[in-house]
């Protein structure tokens, strides 16, 4: 299930998808947005394939609420699955309409016509007609319908071929990112973030903030920000502002960690699957039993570029530039907060730095909109600081996963899993709340009061049910009042759940005295699952012994249990440091559009997961977030980067499934199992730092 219902375009006309007014080019309009994952290239390839054009002839208009089709957010690794499908169908309709028009105009039968590069040929000879000469003959306003049959994958030429990411080179220079936009009369603004969600602004000496280049100090209840002529004047005045604001209401809630808070939180329990009772395996029965508790901490997005947004507010309307994942939802919330009609607000997407979920992009755009009200008609640019990013972006929820199981005659006979988590969804508009920092500080009316997770098998319970064939009892304990700002971060609950499941499968394999790969295959009937597990074991020499201090481990999952299959093997060394030396993955994502894009996403997911597993936990003091810089929240460095090797098992018989989030959980399982093999002991609490391993060894003595 997508995080937000994706818009359907079944009854929308061709004009909402394509524009042929630029000779030689086909403009493809999409509501999906690019954030480094390569979706626009994949969509161009799909359209190019149906139209027998080169991908270079397809240009995209993306994520503009005034001209793109409504397609919901670019979320949940759904873009190729859903939008790719819709683009293919629409392009097939366009092709069929163009061919019909050509047959009419050239007075020949359809079977005599071919097209190449947008030019029509009759019995092999070039005619004077092209896609563009015939565009006027087509009714672009007629609803699309589904009459045209897309090409058979057997005839694909462009789809399935790796295209070089030339956009990367274009981004080396200036101009590619939202941060690079500049408008006449543009001002620079920033909001001073509350030091804690409960903090109240007691007093501020606003006069002391003024100085050269400072245009306005904007205050509304606890919302306080500055608008300045230059970034430099802004930085200077923000430093003054920070010293001149007095806050109260910051709770002193002791040394509890987010996981302590989660462990003691009130929860509501939902049973996700009940093949068996929930009393857990009784030791008195035959076979062997085992129980374990795993956890993952609060983690952050940590995009290298800070969140940025630009807004112009005037009587006639509101214009926003944002790197939001969902320009439509952002538009609606900005309209709501500013008291405007949605059609008076235009949100245009521009590339931000890497996006891995619901980060500060929407907040920065809303900050800009709130500040821009003070200077009607002038664009206000907001760019967060690194500290804002570390302390104010929404975070990935802490999780605690308890599993117990019985192994009988080499098989898992009983399995009971309980996963506990806060919400993984607090996007703008979710739960009919604004869910943005600026409005919440400015007015109680816009505060988030209810935390609500995604439906079952998504959010915190994503991949809580194991794909393996054994009887399971699985429940979800949802903690609705965690004192942290939590929302969607790459793979949501799947990361924690798969980490726990794959770790425990290895623990049970050892209990059963069975090789972990063989043990998995014993419980996996699904041939696609078996294939990725077997293949990754093969390419990684999984069964080959490795030297002392080294270990290999495997992790597997099918994302959402309905998406792509991914198995990962890690080779690690544990000595003075814990190092991941090498990672291998085998992935089955059905029909692959752009193999280089798939490899890039899988590999990126593996390395990000390695960073989460080895290093990351958001530092807190009670419920206060305290990171000041990257030094307080270190991520995987180049020196710590393992080699990575991805093999795609492409089967065009199966529909495309997303790959952006599939490798993270399996990588966590693989690294945890590899560390256990190298170190001889298992640590079940992420991150798996050397200090944790040493502590475990010390406690075992």
């Amino acid at each position: 299930m997508p995080e937000f219902g994706s818009g359907s375009e079944r009854n929308t006309p061709l004009t909402e998808r394509f524009d042929l007014s630029r000779p030689g080019l086909v403009v493809l309009k999409t509501g999906k947005v690019e954030f480094g994952q390569g979706i626009l290239l994949a969509l161009r390839q799909i359209a190019a394939e149906e139209l027998d054009l080169s991908a270079d002839a397809i240009v995209t208009v993306s994520g503009d609420t005034s001209s793109s089709p409504f397609e919901g957010g670019t979320v949940g690794s759904m873009s190729v699955e859903t939008s790719g499908h819709e683009v293919r169908d629409a392009a097939a309709v366009l092709r069929s309409e163009l061919f019909d028009a050509a047959a009419r105009k050239l007075d020949v039968s359809l079977s005599e016509i071919t097209a190449e590069g947008g030019e029509f040929f009759v019995a092999g000879s070039r005619s004077k007609e092209t896609f563009w000469s015939l565009a006027a003959e087509i009714d672009f306003d007629r609803p699309l319908g589904r009459s045209a049959v897309p090409k058979s994958p057997k005839h694909y030429k462009s789809v399935g071929a790796s295209l070089p990411p030339t956009h990367l080179l274009e981004r080396l220079g200036g101009g590619a990112f939202i941060h690079d936009l500049s408008f006449d009369g543009m001002l620079h603004g920033r909001v001073l973030r509350k030091p804690h969600p409960d903090a109240r602004l007691e007093s501020v000496d606003a006069d002391a903030i003024s100085g050269p280049g400072v245009l306005r100090v904007v205050r509304e209840r606890d919302f306080i920000g500055v608008i300045a002529e230059t970034e430099q004047a802004l930085a200077t005045s923000m430093a003054r502002l920070e010293r001149r604001c007095r806050w109260n209401g910051i709770p002193d809630d002791g040394p509890r960690t987010p996981l302590d808070i989660l462990a003691n939180a009130e929860v509501t329990e939902r049973v996700l699957r009940a093949d068996q009772g929930s009393s857990g395996p009784k030791p008195a029965e035959d076979g062997q039993t085992l129980s374990a508790v795993y956890s993952k901490p609060l983690i952050g997005h940590g995009s290298i570029g800070p969140s940025c947004g630009i807004a112009t507010v005037s009587d006639s309307g509101v214009e926003i530039w944002s790197h939001s994942q969902n320009v439509f939802a952002l538009r609606d919330q900005i309209a709501h907060v500013l008291g405007r009609l949605p059609q008076d607000v235009i949100v245009r997407h521009r590339l931000g730095a890497g996006c891995y979920g619901h980060n500060g992009a929407d907040d920065a755009a809303m900050d800009a909109a709130l500040l821009a009200r003070a200077v009607p008609g002038r664009p206000v640019r907001v760019q967060w600081t690194r500290k804002d990013e570390l302390c104010c972006e929404p975070l990935g929820s802490p999780m605690r996963i308890s599993i117990s199981a019985r192994v009988r005659e080499g098989r898992i006979a009983e399995w009971e899993l309980t996963t506990r988590s806060g919400t993984h969804m607090q996007r703008p508009g979710w739960g009919e709340q604004v869910n943005l920092l600026g409005p919440a500080a400015a007015s109680v009316e816009f505060a988030t009061t209810v935390q609500m997770d995604l439906p079952d098998h998504n959010g915190g319970s994503k991949n809580a049910v194991a794909l393996y064939d054994f009887p399971q009892h699985v429940s979800y304990e949802f903690a609705a009042d965690l004192p942290f700002r939590l929302s969607a971060l790459r793979s949501l609950g799947a990361f924690g759940n798969v980490f726990a499941i794959e770790s425990f499968i290895d623990e049970l394999a050892e209990l059963a005295g069975c090789d972990p790969v063989e043990f998995r295959l014993r419980h996996l009937a699904d041939p696609r699952a078996r294939r990725v597990v077997s293949r990754v074991a093969e390419i990684s020499d999984y069964s080959k012994p490795c030297g002392s201090g080294f270990g290999r481990g495997l992790g597997f999952a099918r994302f959402k249990n309905t998406g792509s299959y991914c198995a990962v093997v890690a080779l690690v060394s544990v000595d003075e440091t814990v190092e991941v030396q090498k990672l291998w993955a085998a992935v089955d994502a059905g029909l692959v559009i752009n193999p280089a894009g798939v490899i890039s996403q899988i590999e990126g997911g593996m390395l990000q997961a390695a960073s989460w597993v080895l290093k990351e936990a958001v530092p807190t003091d009670g419920t206060r977030l305290i990171a000041e810089s990257w030094k307080d929240y270190p991520i995987l460095s180049f020196a710590e980067t393992p080699e990575a090797n991805v093999e795609i098992i492409a089967d065009p018989e199966f529909p495309s499934s997303g790959v952006g989030e599939v490798s993270l959980g399996p990588t966590a399982g693989a690294i945890a199992n590899a560390i256990t093999n190298a170190f001889g002991m298992r640590v079940r609490e992420l991150p798996l730092t050397r200090e944790r391993l040493m502590k475990a060894a010390f406690e075992a003595e």
Partner: protein, 158 residues
């Protein structure tokens, strides 16, 4: 008021206070937007430029620090060595969002340009000043290997 320096080979006078961070002068006064702001604290390397051929963080340097010096940004790296690097990035899909890549490119160019026989380990070590969050690190390191192979095979960067 004005600070004189040389940027990408051309003398310029920036009309801004001498305490202005170099990155803001480059991006906002000189419209050289390829230099990226990441952290403002020398942790991520997105803002790397060359000052008299040495890689420096432009977020903590002030204009006064570079007065009468030579500053080179990503926009100024267009020689044959830059071409080899670009080709290697393309061949290895070495990047995802690309935000960190300008700074990394500057550092790599410096490493390859200043050593007669650059070693992989040295170049990889120089990347310790940079962060990438998309997980393109491994692909970027593969691009480094590829570029070194090309250079070793005699693709001159003179």
């Amino acid at each position: 008021m004005g600070v004189k320096l040389t940027v990408n080979g051309a003398p310029v006078e920036v009309r801004a206070d001498g305490s202005t961070p170099l990155i803001l002068a480059l991006r906002n006064e000189l419209e050289l937007k390829g230099t990226r702001f990441g952290c403002g604290g020398e942790d991520c390397g997105a803002c790397m430029v060359l000052v008299d051929s040495a890689p420096r963080y432009s977020c903590t340097l002030q204009l006064d620090d570079v007065a009468r010096h030579q500053v080179t940004t990503i926009e100024g790296l267009n020689d044959s060595l830059a071409h080899v690097l670009r080709e290697a990035i393309l061949a290895e899909s070495a990047g995802q969002c690309g935000y960190c890549l300008s700074g990394i490119f500057v550092t790599l160019h410096h490493c390859l340009a200043t050593s007669a026989q650059p070693k992989y380990a040295e170049v990889a070590k120089a990347l310790g000043r940079h962060l990438c969050r998309c997980g393109a690190n491994a692909a970027i390191l593969r691009a480094v290997k590829r570029a070194l192979e090309r250079i070793e095979a005699g693709v001159s960067h003179a």
